[in-house]
């Protein structure tokens, strides 16, 4: 139980750091190809941060709700990966033009 709390705590701290990083980046990059994509990434990181903070309380949910919540997080995790890869592709394309 203690290990779970420690792991959840550090995960949440790292995710909050990620949230702070992406918001700072968004403020420095207001527009362009990166700025537009960052809007979506900020929304996803907010969702993940909320999810990570909720981890210690997930035990109180019913099994079905827990499974659905986990699957939603996993789905958006996959969306995040696709969005990041597509952003990297666009950057490389622009820089090699």
């Amino acid at each position: 139980m203690n290990t779970l709390i420690i792991l959840s705590f550090f995960s949440a701290v790292i995710m909050l750091y990620a949230l702070w990083s992406v918001i700072t980046l968004k403020n420095n990059v207001p527009g362009g190809l990166i700025g537009k994509k960052l809007n979506g990434l900020v929304a996803l990181v907010v969702l993940f941060a909320v999810g990570y903070i909720m981890v210690p309380f997930l035990g109180q949910l019913s099994q079905e709700t827990l499974t659905i919540s986990m699957n939603i997080i996993l789905l958006f995790g996959a969306v995040y990966v696709v969005a990041t890869i597509s952003l990297i592709k666009r950057i490389i394309q622009t820089l090699s033009d």
């Binding site: 420095n28 990059v29 207001p30 527009g31 362009g32 190809l33 990166i34 700025g35 950057i91 622009t94 820089l95 033009d97």
Partner: protein
Amino acid sequence: MNSAIIFAKTSRGQDVIKNRAHRLDHSLRLALILVDGHSSVNQLKLKAMTMSSLENNLEVLALNGFIQADSDSWQTIKDNSMAIRKTSSSPEISKIKARLIDAAILVLGDEAHRFINLIRKTPDSPQALSETINRCKKIILLTLDEDRAKELNDLCHSILRKAENVNQ
């Protein structure tokens, strides 16, 4: 052009209005008269709805020193003119760099700062300047705005082409 820029007449611009000291096209003269030191480019557009080429006219006036923008980047240039404008050992290249810097401020407003530094640090050759412009275009495209990236690229390349034609 950055539509939030507020232009004011320079002393040269005021001379033109008062003394007709410099022959200006009718449309340039009208644009110069419109510039009042408090209206942004957007507001000027509303005042001169029939003037289709207002932005171009403002660019020409600014690049020729008749008006200047009330922006931090422009102020930096004014305050450190020796450091920024005399960026190279060659007077020709120095002039081109100054015009490119003006163009960057016209299009990007206060966001022109880092591009001004890039232009300043570019080696003294038209080829290097052209490469810097392409680099700026890519950075703006990625981080600011696609339309302004294209606008600045076109404006800077036209400045370089004009300079090359004059030299030939």
